[in-house]
């Protein structure tokens, strides 16, 4: 129960923080143009840095991460997903293609 309470606290904290980020420049409209111009370059570097840090370890190793076990099937599935993502703007097809590839590899070797 206290576990659930802690999770709710977490959700509220993140929700509030996210809202404040979204509101930031809208609220201080007029007084922050110089800051925006200066930080724009760094802000464009953030998405690839974040996304790579999020997905690369989870693809290279299987959980639990502490075991450091490389999973080659996941590597191949990720390569397929990258190939599809280069042609499709949607997130759906790379994910579907990668998963089908992973299932096929596991089915064929089991």
């Amino acid at each position: 129960m206290s576990d659930n309470l802690q999770l709710w606290l977490l959700f509220v904290a993140v929700g509030l923080g996210t809202f404040l980020i979204r509101l930031s420049f809208i609220q201080f409209h007029g007084s922050a143009e110089a800051l925006i111009a200066r930080s724009k370059h760094v802000l464009t570097l953030l998405p690839p840095a974040i996304l790579a840090a999020l997905c690369i370890p989870a693809i290279v190793f299987t959980r639990p991460l502490t075991a450091y076990q490389p999973d080659y099937f996941q590597w191949i599935a990720a390569l397929i997903a990258i190939l599809i993502a280069r042609f499709s703007r949607s997130v759906f097809w790379p994910v579907a293609g990668g998963m089908i590839c992973l299932w096929l590899l596991r089915y064929l070797t089991s």
């Binding site: 999770l7 977490l10 929700g15 979204r22 420049f25 007029g30 690839p48 840095a49 996304l51 690369i56």
Partner: protein
């Protein structure tokens, strides 16, 4: 007034093709929450509070790893920093609105809203038309997102574990990563960050993630100047 309503529905209509991308992402978000053992109300509450899919997926994996509170908050905030860019882009049209509209439109800003509303065709419209168009896109996306997460919650309980559906999360991030890499500089940033994330993944409290992001951004910020300097000296 009639023109405003037209702009609103135009926004709703322009969002329709993007639903094919939002729906599976929402399904994954809802189903994964259930697979972590949260009750349905909790997943819905989390979704409504976050209204940010990638941050929610990242929070899932950190909750799963038993990461401390502050690391989860810091990580999701870093992921959501991109909203500051959107906030800045829409500040000129949304800033002067009365508080209740300003707050509610800020709450439903998203990647898709930014994508559609920052296209040259939309930028050419007048301020009132742009606001109504933005409201149409944003509200349509909000409803789509909530419904697809709830569908994911309903369907999620019936999905067997050996399907490894959780692997769809890194795959989804990978797909987003590929579409954000539009230059060699950004590719370099991703490579630095990805390598650091692997190298530092055993740091305590999942702090390796933050280290990797900082390293990637610093690399992308400093390396071009450094490489240019070396080039001119040779």
């Amino acid at each position: 007034m009639k023109d405003d309503r037209k702009q609103f529905w135009l926004g709703v209509r322009d969002l329709l093709p993007l639903m094919s991308g939002v729906l599976p992402f929402g399904l994954i978000t809802g189903a994964t929450g259930m697979s972590l053992g949260m009750d349905p109300g909790m997943v819905v509450g989390m979704t409504a509070l976050f209204f940010a899919g990638s941050a929610q997926l990242a929070a899932y994996s950190l909750i799963q790893d038993n990461a401390p509170f502050i690391i989860i908050v810091a990580t999701t905030m870093v992921i959501n920093l991109r909203f500051a860019i959107y906030s800045a882009s829409f500040a000129p049209i949304l800033g002067p609105l009365p508080k209740r509209y300003r707050f509610s439109l800020a709450y439903i800003l998203s990647d898709q809203v930014y994508g559609l509303c920052s296209m040259p065709v939309q930028m050419a419209k007048n301020r009132s038309e742009r606001i109504w168009y933005l409201a149409g896109v944003a509200l349509a996306l909000y409803v789509t997102w909530m419904i697809s997460v709830i569908l994911g919650i309903v369907l999620g309980a019936g999905i067997p574990a050996h399907w490894s559906l959780e692997f769809t999360i890194p795959l989804a991030f990978l797909a987003m990563l590929v579409t954000t890499i539009t230059s060699r500089l950004l590719l370099m940033v991703a490579v630095i960050s990805g390598c650091c994330a692997i190298a530092f993944q055993l740091l305590p409290f999942n702090s390796g993630f933050i280290v990797a992001v900082v390293a990637g951004v610093l690399g992308g910020w400093l390396l071009p100047g450094w490489l240019k300097m070396r080039g001119t000296h040779e």
